[in-house]
């Protein structure tokens, strides 16, 4: 989230699409109801189903699952053709004025540089025209036919309301109302927030869904201001923090990158990433990459990391390919993986194409599950009849189920969806023999090391190089680890005048204090300051809010630098004056940037220097045109899901996202509209959390059994009675559930043909107190987004039939 949960209360228009906040984030959704109640804000919801969010919305429009890009591009086209954009903002805070290379082009649904064989693009032409001085060429009049603004107008012109209706099935008038309400915030005195979640990410074109939303917000000038922003409503309680930490195949903490084979030395790794500014005076914060990287290596290897040994860079594992979750299970399926550790993870439920997952797990030599509760995965080898029909005797996997403490039995810090780090205090003793993850993993690590000390073996040096300096090595405390995350001075840090600004051993106050010479450490530069010299700010509990804008600057710590709204420089115009009294936030008072929040950059830099708000970008501005940073194009294009009831109405020859990666054996099990005419989408229910609460009595009580939602029309067509058991099958498997026949789902007219949809809640499985069910991921396709490799759970094809038998 660019903004905070509380800040949603400042919105004038709330747009929920690709998510269902009322259902998945009820307590965050509170701030939507607050905006409605206090400011008369309007809520609009666009979703294949009339959701719980829609139940309290002022406007609802349906659309076909998987066609969000078309809908959103329609809105972009509406804003551009009706000139409903915040011109000044667009001119100064986006790359609308940048000139794009002449050899960049788009036709027949493909950008220049496509290679069909590798399903990928050569992106060299997706670039700016550079001036001799090394800066990018711009035209602030936005009239140059090759400027981003003009290219956008051309690119999006096809998405007329009629075309949008044809592709998405959203009635023209309902679509237009959404566009008008969005446009109503392009004024500088009103703001719109966009709230989305997995409904946008879990597509083969997920990143482009979000790109569209970002572009709309930038055109309306809604990024960096109160009640605005792009707000990704994240799933697990600490998925933000764990992603920040970088337990992802290609990540290091703080969004630094894993070394790869092509980067044999530290410098060869760093040189690619120290991005130079593309305009004079821009911050281009990644110029400091080296400081953060070296500080991280100092935390990882401690004293062993020296300038001489590239701070231990050579000990780091180097990535040959990225093992995203789909590849991880593909590799496992090929029998190339020996062991799997599942820490609070239930892949049998949460990975696409269950049959493949079962086959993959069965090929493991061993599986270790660390979880407070039993998961379906840890019992994957157990026969549960039709729900998990396996033969234990044929599965040779050794399985360890380790009891782990639950949230009340541990302490530590959490980073919520809006980057706010809060502390959790321990309330109870460990349950029976359960232990904390920290304890278990430390124990394992030390046991393995001991084995190597005794027996020797491969890769001893890098293993021993890891710094493990804790009071109790078998049980590092949360406090020690939190301090490591923040980082400290290893020697007295002096400024230019030689004055000591940070004494040796002191915690760092900001990442600005980090150095690239090994004199500081710090695991996670973006968190620096959360446990600074003045203590653990995650534990701050001052809930005062002087500005009344829901900032709560002294409650916990919001990374980076305790900033609550990112890019807040954009809440003022180029001269530093607020766009309006209504949206006054950060502004230039003549001497410094001031307001209720922490400014994006050094508060004394005057507006004249035109330092852009988007400090992580070389341009200092935001990108309407993403250059080569995305695999599937610098502008969004409507591509059908890989399983779609119709051919792409715009580019009939193109199946799915041309740049999405598909493994061979998975391509073969895509179903087509002939046998599977019905669009299916999966989603979460408010009564349940993921796959945990089927094991929680109270939640099993309020939503006990898997069901299939369908329209009255479809039920009639298939003669399905409410409450009757139905069979839903895709080309990969089948599930059975009770029919919930509802007015909240309606068939849509797509390209002249009637298309039905069914909704499949995913919270059910064969372990727990809720009624047993086969996981919905028995049905889902094994294909991911072109950039993030997020599986396409939200749009695929199935068929439905009633199962004879009594109605419940």
């Amino acid at each position: 989230m660019t903004n905070s949960w509380m800040d949603i209360g400042n919105a004038d228009v709330v747009w929920i699409m690709g998510g269902n906040a009322a259902e998945a984030h009820p307590c965050g959704f509170k701030w939507v109801t607050e905006a409605k109640h206090n400011r008369g804000a309007k809520l609009m919801v666009v979703d294949p189903r009339f959701t719980r969010s829609a139940a309290v919305a002022d406007h609802y429009s349906p659309l076909r699952a998987g066609t969000d890009v078309a809908f959103l591009s329609g809105v972009i086209n509406y804003l551009l053709t009706n000139d409903k954009i915040q011109k000044e903002y667009v001119k100064h805070y986006t790359n609308a004025s940048y000139i794009v290379r002449d050899d960049f082009d788009f036709n027949e649904g493909l950008f220049t540089g496509y290679n069909e064989g590798t399903r990928s693009y050569n992106r060299s032409s997706w670039e700016y025209v550079m001036e001799p001085d090394g800066f990018a060429k711009r035209d602030l009049t936005l009239s140059d036919p090759r400027c981003v603004y003009q290219l956008m107008k051309k690119h999006f012109s096809v998405y007329t309301p009629e075309v949008v209706e044809r592709i998405t099935g959203a009635p023209k008038d309902k679509f237009l109302k959404v566009a008008e309400w969005a446009a109503s915030t392009a004024t500088g005195d009103r703001s719109m927030t966009i709230m989305y979640a997995l409904g946008w990410t879990q597509h083969s074109h997920g990143a482009q869904n979000i790109r569209c939303a970002a572009m709309i917000q930038l055109l309306c000038g809604n990024v960096g201001i109160p009640g605005g922003g792009i707000n990704a409503l994240r799933g697990h309680s600490n998925v933000q923090g764990i992603t920040d930490i970088g337990t992802l195949t290609a990540s290091l903490p703080g969004y630094l990158a894993m070394p790869t084979d092509s980067e044999p030395t530290l410098d060869s790794h760093l040189v690619k990433r120290a991005f130079k500014p593309l305009q004079p005076d821009q911050t281009s914060y990644w110029q400091n990459y080296r400081k953060f990287y070296v500080s991280f290596l100092k935390s990882l290897y401690g004293p062993k990391a020296t300038p001489e040994n590239e701070f231990g860079y050579q000990w780091m594992p180097k990535l040959d390919i990225a093992y995203d979750v789909l590849r991880m299970f593909d590799v496992m399926h090929q029998g190339k993986t020996t062991g799997l550790f599942c820490q609070g993870f239930n892949p049998l439920m949460s990975v696409s194409h269950k049959a493949k997952t079962i086959a993959a797990l069965s090929k493991l030599k061993f599986l270790v599950s660390m979880d407070p509760i039993e998961t379906d995965t840890v019992r994957f080898w157990e026969n549960h009849g039709e729900y998990n029909n396996v033969d234990p005797t044929k599965i040779q996997t050794e399985v360890f189920m380790l009891p782990v403490t639950s949230f009340v039995e541990e302490d530590g810090s959490f980073t919520n969806s809006s980057r706010l780090i809060q502390w959790r205090w321990q309330a109870a003793d460990p349950y029976f023999e359960s232990k904390k993850d920290i304890e278990i993993l430390s124990d394992l690590f030390l046991r393995v090391r001991t084995l190597y000390e005794k027996e020797g073996g491969k890769g001893v040096e890098p293993l021993m190089a890891i710094d493990w300096n804790y009071k109790d090595p078998r049980h590092p405390s949360s406090d020690e680890l939190a301090k490591e995350l923040n980082g400290k001075a290893l020697v007295d840090l002096k400024d230019a005048e030689g004055k000591v600004v940070r004494a040796a051993g002191q915690q760092l106050a900001t990442f600005g204090e980090m150095r690239d010479d090994g004199s500081t450490d710090g695991v996670q530069w973006i968190y620096t300051g959360f446990y600074g010299p003045n203590g653990n700010f995650a534990q701050r509990r001052d809930n005062s809010d002087p500005s009344g804008l829901g900032v709560y600057a002294s409650w916990g710590f919001s990374w980076p630098a305790n900033r609550r709204i990112q890019y807040n420089r954009a809440s003022a115009d180029p001269e530093g004056k607020p766009w309006s009294e209504a949206k006054k936030y950060m502004f230039w008072n003549g001497q410094r940037w001031t307001g209720p929040d922490v400014p994006d950059y050094v508060p004394t830099i005057p507006p004249e220097r035109a330092v852009g708000p988007f400090i992580m970008n070389q341009e200092g501005v935001s990108r309407l045109f993403t250059r080569g940073f995305l695999a599937d194009g610098p502008f969004p294009v409507h591509y059908e899901p890989f399983e779609s009831p119709v051919a792409n109405p715009l580019y009939p020859k193109i199946k799915g996202n041309p740049a999405a990666r598909v493994f061979k054996n998975d391509m073969e099990v895509f179903g087509d509209a002939k046998d599977f005419p019905i669009v299916a989408t999966t989603y979460r229910l408010v009564e349940h959390f993921h796959y945990w609460t089927k094991s929680v009595h109270a939640n099993a009580v309020i939503q006990p059994e898997f069901f299939v939602e369908m329209s009255e029309e479809l039920a009639r067509e298939k003669s399905i009675r409410p409450g009757q058991m139905v069979r839903v099958w895709s080309n990969r498997g089948e599930v059975k559930g009770k029919a919930v026949v509802t007015k909240r789902l309606k068939p849509l007219k797509i390209d002249g043909k009637t298309v039905h949809s069914v909704g499949l809640p995913l919270n059910f499985g064969f372990i727990g107190e809720a009624k047993k069910a086969a996981p919905v991921n028995t049905l889902t396709p094994f294909v991911g987004d072109a950039n993030a490799q997020t599986p396409e759970f939200k749009a695929f094809l199935v068929n439905v039939e009633p199962v004879p038998g009594p109605v419940a």
Binding site: P26, A55, V686, H697, P704, E705, F706, T742, K743, A808
Partner: protein, 313 residues
């Protein structure tokens, strides 16, 4: 935002009300305290409700209720009705508004309305099994309940449920134990969108006015407060988008009142009945005094003997 109530304290607190604050006690006459406590009320704003069932769970947890895991029968309601363990239940109605042509998903939290004139209490034959505090809370007192089910017949909202296990009547207590220590009910505390708020009845009415204004500004011309006069008003009130059609909301009664049959039963019948019985007894008594016993005379015996034959002395 309606100001949240401060967190509960982890320490013993003396209850703010109790037996001395009763204004009604089933099947017994009491003399109410001279001063009535400020009336409290729970306001349920249907237009803010997302039907998440947090209230149901909070109710189960706070009151240590164990409900059984049911099945899906093709609807979102679970359990399918109020039970001795489910004191509050979300009821869902899908309604296509003929005027706007829009679908409306009307979700109502069902449960005890804590009537000012409680039909359950009126019907209850067991002294002190149902009590009403001067703050408006109508509470069941388990130890006095005899499980006859008369409260079920007395209730205009079909709320009380009789346990098959211990044969006692159960329903929402408005968390009397929380209110007694200055907290709001568990459901209200949990409600993510503040569709449930709790305070004095006056505060709630003022808050409701705000909400109704907002709804009218969004085109709900018939938005209004549900505080039915038929039962003397309630201490659980609804804000409805269509206050002119309460029936829309899973059959919320249009003008609830204690059933005339129950009134007749607990009223005239009760008195007239005992009068009649008393009268019959009295008349018999008087008749005996006036006309004396009806004795068999010797002559009767002689006649009998004459007829039946046999020796005579």
């Amino acid at each position: 935002m309606f100001p949240p109530i401060a967190n509960p304290k982890a320490e013993a607190i003396t209850p703010k009300f109790g037996e001395q604050d009763l204004i009604r006690r089933s099947a017994s006459s009491i003399t109410p305290a001279a001063k009535r406590q400020t009336e409290v009320a729970k306001l349920i704003d249907v237009s803010k409700c997302i039907g998440c069932k947090a209230c149901q769970v909070a109710c189960l947890e706070w009151n240590n209720l164990i409900e059984e895991v049911g099945i899906n029968v093709g609807v979102y309601e679970n359990p399918h009705d109020l039970t001795p363990n489910t004191w509050t239940l979300m009821r869902y109605t899908e309604w296509e508004n003929p005027e706007s042509g829009n679908l409306e998903w009307l979700i109502r939290k069902d449960g005890c309305m804590h009537c000012e004139d409680p039909g359950c209490l009126k019907a209850c034959p067991a002294p002190g099994a149902i009590v009403q505090y001067s703050n408006g809370i109508v509470d069941f007192v388990k130890d006095n309940c005899i499980g006859c089910g008369y409260c079920v017949k007395g209730c205009p909202f079909n709320i009380p449920r009789i346990s098959k296990v211990d044969h006692k009547a159960y329903k929402c207590t408005l968390c009397s134990d929380r209110v007694a220590v200055g907290q709001g009910p568990a459901c209200q505390k949990a409600c993510p969108t503040q569709a449930i708020v709790f305070g004095t009845k006056d505060e709630m009415k003022q808050w409701a006015d705000k909400r109704i204004k907002d709804l009218k500004s969004r085109g709900y011309q018939n938005a209004g407060l549900y505080d039915p006069p038929g039962v003397g008003g309630t201490h659980v009130m609804y804000v409805l988008q269509h206050a002119d059609k309460p029936q829309l909301y899973a059959g919320l009664p249009d003008n609830p009142a204690i059933s005339p049959i129950v009134e007749l039963w607990k009223g005239l019948t009760k008195y007239a009945g005992l009068t009649a019985i008393g009268a019959f007894a009295a008349i018999g008594f008087l008749h005996h005094i006036v006309s004396g016993a009806n004795r068999v005379s010797d002559e009767d015996e002689r006649n009998a003997k004459r007829l039946a034959g046999g020796s005579t002395k």
